[in-house]
Symmetry: D2
Subunit: 397 residues, 4 copies
């Protein structure tokens, strides 16, 4: 069935790729060994560092985020190494599964998937690990499956307090470019990112931001791998080149996308996401529904997961929204399957796109026969209106 | 100031050009005398006829709609000819001004710019013109400045009843492809269209659909012109070519755009526009504002003009919406300047885009301090939801 | 039949549109009454002036070049006015035909279509016109049908010597942006240009560069027209807007295209065209064929028309080239039909594209059984090679 | 320095991406878990099989070809396994290096890098391996660094004759879609491909075509990896989905690119490449230079590597060509560094593009002061002309 108008892609990534980023990629592929490519490569590499907020190195892989997860572990660790993993949701769970496949021994700190990483438990585990068997602590900054963020700074403090030498590895796949994150300031050793969320690019690029300590660990890691090898990358990167053929056209887009982030200003970008998230939560509450994240300090700026009323299928609801309203919402993953739907409000987004999105949720709830009160959209609009001037003044000031 | 997300282009044209139409135009320009061009030309010419609903000829000009207005008059009439023109709004008024410049003598039937053409007055004027001095009756099907349509079928009946030989000329610039229109069935002699509204193309093409009677008149018209000449066009068009260089890349887009209209189905397209117009009017009334068009039978499916409360500037309101909410609304034109704003809901559009649009109006009214009641958006959503299933069922049936 | 690889579009326009110009147009259409549009409009208007080399005004029409021809005459002249027209080829002939349709009285100075305008004859005609009945002198700067240029400076001198007040109107449709041209320096009153040749844009825009004297004449011209009206345009243009909907997306491209011309440098652009023209002529001579233009001082930098040996059809040859070699060459027009083929070497072009083009001609001559000597390409390559360093040094200096 | 016209990208990949393939990718990214994506995924997966000529499975990775090399080895083998590798050039050498990193034990059969794999030596090695310690034989079908192909069918016969159970793994990165290759017919177990050569896509996708035997081996392989895991991929692929986010926009392009290959016809595509390769070799010989590949049965249809005369730097020559002629040629790799240049004539290519390319080489040789005879281009043109008709007739028949 033909669906007129623009599709509302409101999953928590891939996000809407801005027209000028798409057009930047819609250019002839160039010789990746030419002088012109070196200029592009250096620009791409320096651009991406500003988003991770690191003065150190960022590796760019022609790969999905899953590849960058593997790269982080494969470069720095050795089979049999113990890793402390915080299972805050489905993606943390998948990272753990990947670690198992690589022969690592994950020690898991669980949550109920409705909050951030349990920093107290992490601290306790580190304190208990007097033999320093734990080689890395792995945390997902923004759990895409739950809409809960974790306090990375506090995790670093826990490591510091325990005087524990483990590496700190953080997944920012769905927070990079949408939620405040600081690789260097927060003392992260390996940050794992992807292109298709806050960076507003199609999928196909992923990243490892690496600390000096991580590189030193890599020199000793004994895991067998080649594609993910940091040192070869960094050697070639020093002149803007890559050891194997890079995803050239995505690099064109990367430069354009980071330019956009800075044109808006990273802090403005982050504030925009927080404001849209708050508007969304107000809508959810007005509908009489429940936000999955139960701890406000962990609310995500990038997405909001919403619990369905008992006895109602989230997927049936999402199907109605998709078919009748031309909008994609995120599904519940893993143990949350069919129990939540997720509203992505990240990337290249604005107030009226959010209003359209929340309108679609409100219409869909009614069309799908999900018990709710109307007025969610109205609540969101009031908040957006009340805070619109403020945002405007702040920008003018 | 950087504005994230997609701009809401809610003027009554140019409208949003669909991505695949833009991409169809983003192709190398071809030799306009090559055999491949002939194939394209024939396809473009036959495509556009289906939208005018004519088995006759449609001329495609590389020009704006204003050019096609001039072409309609210049081909068929002679200096000093009397033309009966219905001044339903600013565009009708501009067409009259153009007629004056060409040396024609417009006899004007006015309205208050809040309704369609006055068919009774047209009928009376035709009856009174026993000498048949009136050579053409000119009506704007959808007045883009007011959001009022005119009853073309009734105008034709008036001509018939009066047994008057005048040509019937109709401007469908903002109704073509968005509001039901039938060049042949309604006995129109010259229909004037443009690319940038319901056809979902950038501006740069305009059209004259011409009846046999119009071509016969053209053979006798003594106005001096060359670019607009129908006969040279039709001669070259017979094999898919043009007498001078056509706007090749817009023709690529034309074929793609008409394919889209038929993929959705013209009747479905028209019903969609009517439904969105009704939803918009419900919002307007719920805000306590007034729809400019005061006669429901003339409501436009393509746009809704809204009267501002006394003492409030429509342009000040539009400026707030533009700056703070990244949406363009249409301004009041001519005697309506600063007194109305116009909401375009035509072209490549859907429910959630309309919801975003009306959200922007509601937020803007508050931000600009325009007295209104909230709840307009809610009223629109209810209507859209209530009618969504029906639309769906109808399509499934 | 599927044809792999890039088509060689070697007609003398439309020319190859550079990828970044195509991409600049592949952007959402904007509100032509928004503040952002005003910025774009001013930029487009000031950009195009630099290519005409005028400090005065340039009108941008959403129309083909034929429209701009009409605009030049319709604004400044009155029915019955005498115009001195130099029939240097098919396009000059078409301009004359257009003048006749507008009720003007062309006095024609003919050539054999193998050279530039006959300046002596122009001078004589002006001297003879003591009553100043001639209101305008019309010359085509670069005859696209013959590959002969005319000496505009000399025509101006002829007007000056005769102390004749006629306007000087020049068609630069196929020379603008490819052959040196100076609207102000050469004292031209109306210069007529188009988008699809040296400007490297798709067709759909055309131009009138107008002198103060031309505007004064326009104030008195009595021809009936509206679309082409300069004064309304200039009034709106002063703030970057247009009196009717402009071809927005082509304006995006216009800005990008002019930026390209200046990135290369206009003088470098002109020298490149001359060098490619000379290489082409060397190839033609080495094949034992004849360049149509018989007077070297009128050789065109934009295209080269080549005479076919007697008894051989240029169109049959062109068909072979098109079908078997995926290249479009220009056909003979008017009295030259089937007797010449035209090689376009203008626009976004370089040495290797020319080498591919001339290879296609040489292969095509053999495939089509046209008597010739081989070695034309070799001769061109030698010239290109010999002059390559010089060009390089000059740029480095 | 600004370089007008189209860059000649004549490296042996990445190749020129056709405009419609670029435009197919220049579309909004979609939800990779939506029903629409499932349709796309199935189409992409079935499309790519036709190019590998397999009825079995093809894995699509969001990764470079290097990743697909790793995937082939990591899925099927275990650390310590012996692999017979044919070092036919730099890429074979890099694959060996990768195998070493994965803990495999390569047994290397060398060549002088001027011919295909030594099948007799492979046969002997397999015969000698009575204990079947060799688990896989790895051959590069088309060595991108040398322009020599290897006889895969003969290698399979050697395995058969020796009744050896080793897997046959073949790299077709630069032959897929440009040189005849048959995964099933030739009994290959794992074929490794990439997107950026004969497939005419940007880099970013790579492939493993896998036999039933290879999947059985994978069930037993003990190498630690996750991203490359075939079984998870195939499980998700069965409904058109992927276990992690795929490179969506490249998949759009993949479907468009394979459609192009079939529109031309795979056999026609292969014949075109062979014909262009022969034309290139004739040019090389006429210049008095030497084709690197010394055994005609191993000539590559995709590229031609050319030996520089002693004492002349290939890189200095390439730099002249790049700077002065706007063309990229491939450099010598590994032990061939600075001694050869490589002409890519693969992908979306035609006669006149080849003529432009060879013109650039001939001009560059002169500009760089490399001793040679002129006339190479002439020789190529003669061959292209003589064979043009035949090709045409064959297509018409």
């Amino acid at each position: 069935m033909f669906k007129p108008g623009r599709h509302f892609l409101q999953i928590p990534g891939p996000t809407n790729v801005p027209d000028d980023v798409l057009r930047a990629m819609d250019q002839p592929t160039m010789d990746h060994r030419s002088p012109e490519f070196g200029v592009l490569g250096l620009r791409a590499l320096s651009s991406i560092k500003t988003v991770f907020k690191t003065a150190g190195d960022v590796i760019i892989y022609p790969a999905s985020g899953t590849g960058a997860w593997e790269a982080a572990l494969a470069n720095t660790l050795s089979p049999g190494d113990k890793v402390l993993m915080c299972e805050t949701g489905q993606f943390a769970s998948l990272w753990r599964k990947l670690a198992l496949r690589l022969g690592l021994e994950p020690q898991v700190i669980e949550t109920d998937w409705r909050t951030g990483a349990d920093v107290a438990a992490i601290a306790a585990a580190l304190q208990a690990d007097t033999g320093h068997r734990i080689k890395a602590v792995c945390v997902v900054h923004n759990e895409t499956s739950t809409g809960c963020t974790s306090d990375i700074k506090a995790v670093r403090a826990a490591l510091g307090n325990a005087e524990h030498p483990a590496l700190l590895m953080v997944d920012v796949i769905s927070s990079l470019g949408s939620i405040d994150y600081r690789h260097d300031d927060w003392g992260v050793d390996v940050t794992v990112g992807g292109s298709q969320k806050g960076l507003m690019l199609p999928p196909g690029l992923s990243f490892n931001a690496v600390s000096t300590k991580a590189r030193a660990a890599a020199a000793k890691g004994s895991m067998r791998h080649s594609y993910w090898n940091w040192e070869e990358m960094l050697k070639a990167n020093s002149t803007g080149f890559f050891p194997y053929t890079p995803a050239t056209n995505l690099l064109y887009g990367l430069v354009a996308a980071v330019d956009r982030l800075h044109a808006e200003g990273l802090d403005t970008v982050f504030a925009r996401h927080q404001r849209h998230a708050e508007a969304t939560r107000r809508a959810v509450r007005a509908w009489g529904l429940e936000v999955l994240c139960r701890t406000p300090e962990h609310y995500s700026g990038a997405l909001t997961a919403v619990l369905m009323p008992d006895g109602h299928s989230a997927d049936a609801f999402r199907k109605v929204v998709h078919q009748q309203l031309n909008m994609s919402l995120g599904n519940g993953l893993g143990r949350l399957a069919d129990r939540v739907f997720r509203i992505g409000h990240l990337g290249d987004f604005n107030d009226l796109m959010l209003a359209g999105t929340l309108s679609g949720v409100e219409m869909g709830l009614k069309l799908a026969g999900v018990p709710h009160q109307s007025g969610g959209l109205q609540a969101a609009l009031e908040y957006l209106t009340d805070t619109a001037s403020g945002v405007c003044d702040a920008q003018a000031a």
